[in-house]
Symmetry: C2
Subunit: 514 residues, 2 copies
C-alpha cells in the first residue's frame, strides 16, 4: 500500500476536526467547492488579518468591498468575456467533458508552457497524435471548443441583462477607481485592495483546496504615475534575495532558479518595475512567516503567451507542495493602464489622474497598475502542510501563535472534586479576555493534550488539585511539551504578552521539573 | 425645496468621503448593488467583529464558511426553488416589469400584510380594481407571473447542472450539519454561524442600502434537542423589556407595541421558545450598542401567511429610519426540524443527533433550530443614521470608539518648521501600534478637524510648536471639541486603554483651557 502523502493526512484530519472538507458531501459532493469548518474559518480569518497587518496597513493601502455578481459590460470592457476561456473536448462515447490542455499535460507529457501556446486546432491534433482517449471510458474526443469559465447569470427580470460571477476582485476596484481616488483627494501612488470570494467555472476541478470554483482572492491594485514609478520603500527589501526562473531561462529549458537580490533583479532589468519587485519581496517574506522556508519558494516568469491578456510582465510565486509539486500562491502582474483605459473607452467616463507640472501647469494621465494577487484558500492549505510534523508518532500542527485557530485548551485534570467547576471559571475568564479557548474534559489528560496538538493549539491550561490549594494552573507548550505553573490572576496579562510575541513560553511561569 | 432627509445627507457624505455608494456608476449604475469604500469597509468589518464579540463568542457559537454558489438540489430540498418567488407584472406598453405587491403597496394603499395574503389571480384583480397603471408610461399590465428571485447559473460545462446564488447563508450550515456536529463531538445545543454574501435577484430594487441584490447576511442556526429547549442563559436577560407587536394585535389593527419583559413574554406564550426570546433580547441590546434607543426599536410578529415557508413562529426586529419608517434589521424564526428533515429526505443521509436516555439506552432525533438572522449592510446604515448629528452647523458623526473606522487623525499644525516631519513620526508610531490613523496636512487646522468630525474620527492628534519643545501633542475630542495635552511616549498605552473603553477622554492628558 502506498503510504499516505501529506495532503491525504491533512485532509483526513481537516475533515475530522473541522478545518475544511469538500462541500455538499451529503448530496454526493460538487467538485470545486470547499467548506471551512469552525477551525478552518478561524485560521482563514487569522491569516487574512495577518495579511492586513503585514501587507496592507503599513503601506496605507485602502480596502474596499464590491459585489461578486457583476454586470456583463464590466467584464466585456475588461476583456474577460472575450479571453476568459479554456479549451474543452467532449468524449463522443460517454459525453464527459475535459479541459483539453489538462489532458495533454496529464497523458501527453506536455508542459503547461507548451499547451498554453496551442491554438484550438492544434490542441485537437496533439490529442490525436498522442493517442489520448477518454480517461473515463476510453472513447474518442469531439473537436475542441472554447468554454467560458465565468459563471453566467441574469440580473433582474430581463433576460438580456447578463451578469457574471467575478473571476477576480480586481475589476471591482478598477470600475470604482474614480470615486476612491477622489475620496483619497487625488493621491498617487494609491493602493487599493479587495479580499473576497471570486468564481471560476472550472471544467472538472479535482485538486481539493488548490483548484476551486469558488475561492477567496486578495487583489491589490497599486496605481502609479507611469512617469514616476519609483518605490520609496525599496530600501526595506533591496538586499532580500529572490529565487527566480526568468522567461528566458524557461525557454532555454533551465528549471533551476537563479538567486538574485531585489536590487540586482531591478538593475539587470529582470523585474521591470520597482514596486513590482517590492511586492514580490514582501510576498516572499509573508510566506516565510507562514512557515515556508526560502528554498521551498520561487518566482517563475510568465512567457508572453502564458500571461493574462492584461499583463505585460508577470511572475507567479510558487510554493512546493508534496502532492502537487510547485504550486502558484500569488501572481505579480504589471497591468499597465490596460484596465483603466478599457473602462474609460467602454464607459465614456474620464478615469485619469491629474498632476501639477512645471511648464504646462498640469497634466492628466491614466495611472498604471502593479498588481500582487493572492489565493487565500491555498495559503490556508500551505500553512497547514508546512505546520504538519510528527513527534513520538504523534501528529503535531506547529502553527504560529498568530495563526493557530484555538489559542488554548482548558482541561480539568479529572471530572470530579470540584475541578471542572474551577476550570469552567478559568475558561470563562479567558473567553471574556477575548481569547479563543476550547473546553475539553473527556478522556485522559494525555488524550486531551494529543487532540490539542493535532489541531495546533499552542497552550494547554490544566486545572489540578494544586489549583484548589494555591490558585495556580499548569500551562503546557504544544511543541516542547514542557510545562510551567502560573497564578490564575496573572494569566490575562501573561497570555496577552505571549500571543503578542512579547514573551516566550518560559516567561509564562515557573518551569515544572518532570 | 424639500429639505434633505437624513438618508440624502448621509448618502451624499458617504459617496464623497468613501463610506458607500451605488456600484457601477461609470456604467450608469445597476440597482441593488452597493460598494463599500475604504471607510465603509472598515466600519462594516468593525461592526462584524463587534457582533462576534457580543453575540457569537460568549455563547461558544461556531463560525463556518461555505460557498455562495449552491447546487440546485440543495435549494430544491430547502424549498427555495418552489417558494422563493415574487409576483411580477409587465407593462404591456413599455415592457417594464414590476413587483406586483410593491405596486399595490405604493399606489394601492395596501399594507404588506394584506398583499402577502393575495393569490396571483387576486393580485391582478386588485391592480385592476385600484386602477393602477405603469408608473413609467401609464400603460396597462399583463397578467401576473411568479418570478423566482434567486440568481440562476450552471455549474461546470454541463447545461443540466443548475446552480443558484444562495439566498441565505443558513442552507450552507444545514447541509454541513453532520460534519460540524461530529467535529463538535455530538454537542447540543450547538450554535453555528455564517457571515457572508447572499444574493436575491430583486425585480426592481430602489432603496439604497436597504434593499440589495447582493448583501451580507449573518445567519445563526442554533440546534436544540426539541425535548429540552431550556435556555440556561435566560436569567441574563429575563428582566429586559421588549416592545412587541403580536400577530394577534396586528390582525386587530393595533399598531402600538406592548412592552413586556422577556420573562412575561415567555410566560404568556407570546414567544414560544426560550432561546428565541434570549436571542431577541440580545438583538435589542446589540442595537442599543449601535446607538439605536429602545423606543426606536420594536419586534413585529409575522402572521401565518407572512412567514417564510420554514418558519412556525417569526419576529422581525425593526428600527425606525427617517426615510423608510420601520425597517427590518433582523429576523428571529423558529425553523423547527424543517430544514434538517428535508435534507435528510432529499439526500438520504442520516442527520439525526443522539442522546442517552434512562430506559432505552439512547435515542436518535432531529434537532430543532432557532434562527436569529441579521442584515449587515442595513446595520451599517443604521449605525450611520443614528450617529449623525449637528453641532454649530457642522456635521458630526458620533460613532462609538469601537465602530469609528478611523481612530484618529494626525495633523501638523502648519506645513513648515519641521512640524510635518515630527507629525509623520507620530503617525508612523501609531500605525505600528495597530491603530487606524489618517494623515491630513491640507488646509487650516479647523478645516481638518471638521473633515474628521464629518466621518466620525474620535480623536485628533495635533503636532504644534510646543511639541518640538517638550514632546507633547494635543488630543482633541470629536464630540466635545475639548483638548488635552499628552506626552508622545505615553500615547500608545493611553490610546489602547481609551479604545478599549478603560479610560475616558479626560484620562488621556492635561486639559487645555481655552
Amino acid at each position: 500500500m502506498k503510504p499516505k502523502d501529506k495532503y491525504e493526512i491533512i485532509s483526513e484530519m481537516a475533515k475530522r476536526r473541522g478545518y475544511f472538507w469538500p462541500s455538499y458531501e451529503i448530496y454526493g459532493g460538487v467538485s470545486g467547492f470547499l467548506t471551512f469548518g469552525p477551525l478552518g474559518s478561524l485560521l482563514k480569518r487569522r491569516l487574512e488579518d495577518k495579511f492586513r497587518r503585514f501587507y496592507i496597513r503599513p503601506l496605507g493601502i485602502l480596502e474596499i468591498e464590491t459585489s461578486i455578481i457583476m454586470p456583463g459590460k464590466v467584464l466585456e470592457a475588461s476583456g474577460h468575456v472575450e479571453s476568459f476561456k479554456e479549451p474543452t473536448v467532449e468524449c463522443l462515447k460517454c459525453q464527459h467533458k475535459f479541459r483539453a490542455d489538462h489532458l495533454l499535460q496529464e497523458f501527453g507529457e506536455m508542459s503547461d508552457t507548451e499547451t498554453e501556446k496551442l491554438t484550438l486546432q492544434a490542441v485537437v491534433e496533439e490529442i490525436k497524435n498522442r493517442n489520448i482517449h477518454c480517461p473515463e471510458c476510453g472513447g474518442d474526443f469531439s473537436k475542441a471548443e472554447q468554454f467560458m469559465t465565468m459563471f453566467t447569470t441574469t440580473i433582474g427580470p430581463y433576460s438580456d441583462s447578463v451578469g457574471y460571477g467575478r473571476p477576480e476582485a480586481a475589476q471591482g476596484i478598477f470600475v470604482e477607481f474614480k470615486r476612491i481616488h477622489e475620496s483619497a483627494r487625488g493621491k498617487l501612488p494609491l493602493g487599493v485592495v479587495q479580499i473576497g470570494h471570486a468564481l471560476r467555472n472550472e471544467i472538472s476541478p479535482r485538486q481539493g483546496p488548490v483548484r476551486l470554483r469558488e475561492f477567496t482572492i486578495i487583489d491589490i491594485e497599486f496605481f502609479l504615475d507611469p512617469e514616476n514609478t519609483k518605490c520609496e520603500r525599496l530600501h526595506e527589501v533591496e538586499n532580500d534575495t529572490l529565487r527566480l526562473i526568468t522567461a528566458e531561462n524557461k525557454l532555454n529549458g533551465v528549471t533551476e532558479p537563479i538567486e538574485v537580490t531585489v536590487k540586482e533583479a531591478l538593475n539587470k532589468g529582470i523585474i521591470k518595475k520597482e514596486w513590482q519587485a517590492y511586492f514580490m519581496a514582501l510576498a516572499k517574506r509573508f510566506l516565510v512567516e507562514l512557515g515556508v522556508p526560502e528554498d521551498k519558494q520561487r518566482f517563475i516568469e510568465k512567457l508572453e503567451w502564458e500571461r493574462a491578456h492584461y499583463s505585460v510582465q508577470g511572475f507567479d510565486q510558487e510554493v512546493y507542495l508534496e502532492r502537487w509539486g510547485w504550486t502558484e500562491v500569488s501572481g505579480h502582474n504589471y497591468r499597465t493602464d490596460y484596465d483603466l483605459s478599457r473602462h474609460m473607452k467602454f464607459s465614456g467616463v474620464d478615469l485619469t489622474a491629474f498632476k501639477e507640472t512645471e511648464n504646462e501647469g498640469g497634466k492628466r494621465f491614466i495611472p498604471h497598475v502593479v498588481e500582487p494577487s493572492f489565493g487565500l484558500d491555498r495559503l490556508v492549505y500551505v500553512a497547514l502542510e508546512y505546520a504538519y510534523t510528527k513527534k513520538k508518532k504523534r501528529t503535531l500542527l506547529s502553527l504560529s501563535r498568530e495563526l493557530a485557530p484555538l489559542q488554548m485548551g482548558v482541561f480539568p485534570l479529572v471530572s470530579k472534586d470540584g475541578l471542572p467547576e474551577k476550570a469552567k471559571e478559568v475558561y470563562q475568564m479567558l473567553i471574556n479576555e477575548g481569547f479563543t479557548v476550547e473546553w475539553d474534559e473527556s478522556g485522559s489528560i494525555g488524550r486531551r493534550y494529543a487532540r490539542a496538538d493535532e489541531v495546533g493549539t499552542p497552550l494547554g491550561v490544566t486545572v489540578d488539585y494544586q489549583t484548589l490549594e494555591d490558585g495556580t494552573v499548569t500551562l503546557r507548550d504544544r511543541d516542547t511539551w514542557k510545562q510551567v505553573r502560573s497564578k490564575i490572576e496573572n494569566l490575562p496579562e501573561l497570555l496577552h504578552d505571549y500571543f503578542r510575541n512579547k514573551i516566550d513560553f518560559e516567561g509564562l511561569g515557573q518551569l515544572v521539573e518532570r
